[in-house]
């Protein structure tokens, strides 16, 4: 497993699905582990009843069916399926509505879904997902991207409430790919994924949604900046290492 995971974290991000399939055929005995530990770009299904799309992930799956956060029904229909309690479902409904507005504000389009379920420690776990197609044929407002995909997965464990406080543990994963195609720079593509964790103990006075929402917003922002400045920046540095810009080359001539 270690070798498999080590390989996967080095594979070109755009080939992670192929790499995962290959590993599943090579080490089928680890397939459930691999599937549960590797993130792939999110898939979407349409909930015809409510007329809205919802995102598929391990957290709303049971067998081969997926539960829609809008209608709370499994598609395709499934007997004896797992559902959150009615109280948690109320929170889940609210979370989906609020998160849709948050998504709109930051993503100007895209799809979001939130799933919640009780965990063994009398707390609960919530999964907030966003999928955005930022290409010019999708929801890209400025039309600069030939291709643009952003997938965000935020899994947040909420501990039981104790003396008005709760412990929150957020693990956020961002997967993205973008590509431009123009006269001067040709086909320019950047893709990648990054994952970070954030833990906080917060007062529950304003409600769980408020706390979770703020943490997600903060970590998402940090990851966006990190990808942009640090990660893409490193690739930019590498290009300049391979072939320094003309001004720098000229300065070198006296040595040679």
């Amino acid at each position: 497993m270690e070798a498999a995971l080590g390989l996967l974290r080095r594979m070109p991000p755009k080939q992670s699905e192929t790499a995962l399939s290959a590993l599943l055929s090579l080490i089928p005995q680890h397939s459930s582990d691999l599937l549960s530990q590797v993130d792939l770009p999110l898939q979407v299904l349409r909930d015809i009843e409510s007329g809205k799309d919802f995102i598929l992930c391990e957290y709303n799956r049971d067998a081969d069916s997926y539960r829609s956060p809008w209608s709370n029904k499994y598609l395709p229909p499934l007997e004896d399926a797992l559902y959150p309690s009615s109280e948690l479902r109320k929170l889940e409904v609210e979370a989906n509505d609020i998160f849709a507005i948050y998504r709109d504000q930051y993503y100007e389009g895209g799809i979001s879904s939130v799933y919640m379920w009780e965990d063994d420690n009398e707390g609960f776990v919530a999964c907030f997902l966003i999928k955005k197609d930022g290409s010019k044929s999708g929801h890209g407002r400025r039309g600069c991207l030939e291709e643009g995909a952003w997938d965000a997965i935020h899994v947040i464990q909420v501990g039981p409430e104790e003396e008005g406080m709760a412990h929150y543990c957020l693990t956020s994963t961002i997967m993205l790919s973008l590509a431009t195609d123009d006269e001067s720079s040709g086909k320019f593509g950047l893709s990648g994924s990054i994952r970070r964790q954030m833990k906080m103990d917060l007062a529950v006075a304003e409600g769980h949604l408020c706390n979770m929402g703020r943490m997600i917003e903060e970590l998402e922002g940090k990851l966006r900046n990190s990808l942009d400045q640090v990660y893409f920046g490193k690739t930019r540095e590498m290009v300049c290492t391979l072939r320094p810009p003309a001004e720098i080359v000229q300065m070198r001539l006296p040595d040679t």
Binding site: E2, A3, L5, R9, P12, P13, S21, A22, L24, S25, L26, S32, L35, Y59, R61, D62, A63, I98, I101, Q105, Y107, K132, G134, G140, R142, G143, C144, L145, A149, Q157, C169, T171, L176, G186, K187, G189, L190, S193, I194, Q197, E206, L209, E217, E220, R224, L227, D228, Y231, F232, K234, T235, R236, M238, V239, T241, L242, R243, P244, P245, A246
Partner: protein, 306 residues
Amino acid sequence: RRRITGGDGTKLRPEERNRKVVSPQRSRWRNQLRCQRFKGAVLSDEEVYNEAAMEAFPVYNKSHMICLEMPSRAGDVIVSSYSEIAENEYIDPRTAQVAIVDHVKQICTKVRPANDEELPSLYIEEYRNALDAEIQRYVSESYPKGISAVNCVKGKDTEGPGSDFEFVVIITAMRLSPQNFCNGSWRSVWNIDFQDESQVLDIKGKLQVGAHYFEEGNVELDAKKDFQDSTIFQSADDCAIAIANIIRHHETEYLAALEVAYSKLPDNTFKDLRRKLPVTRTLFPWQNTLQFSLTREVEKELGLGK
């Protein structure tokens, strides 16, 4: 870099998936991903590995145009489809040697002199050699660790004027720093088509730049561009200078364009994926979301909004 290319992309069978909902303990696993050396192999069967490697390595080596050091300080040979004589033999036109190569180990095991059938005619060699020298000069000026070669891929037996012939100029630079979690490569392939009848050189270029950074994350740049240009058919020396100038011009411009593409990222390109802040320029008012919902209801009722 060892990459295993196995598998055929088969889809998952339903019985491979769990029936019960996966618990959030998976996030604990994820955080244990650290950079460590592989302690065990994914594949324990040597024979299968060797078979796959024998197939995968030549493809990788040729498409990445890896450079292998030839014995006795003869320089580097570029492994590419343009210099391939046989599956494990690659010609270095500059030293008129053929390198025998072990693809899987990525080393040149020995060299032999190229025989007459493998080398171009004197007439062609005059043009090839002149161009090779000019390109070498350009590459040493512009690439800290660049390696180049000029191969004749068509018409190498042409004895004099009256026929067409074609060269391929390869420029490759690689920077491998796995200990810093960063690798990169620059590959230029320029096709120079010497057209006798029109007395024109038709030039087509393909540039490909890649960079991979994978420290606590995994990000890759994949950039490519095609070029087209031409110049007149002159003496060997004059052609060499003209071609090298054209290549230098396009590559320098391309590098500048890449810089521009990078500088547009934070405030333009990236914005189409996710804004830094909402249009309101403030963080999302989580505590006031009831107010927000109300606004949306009103918007919907009045048929406003997007």
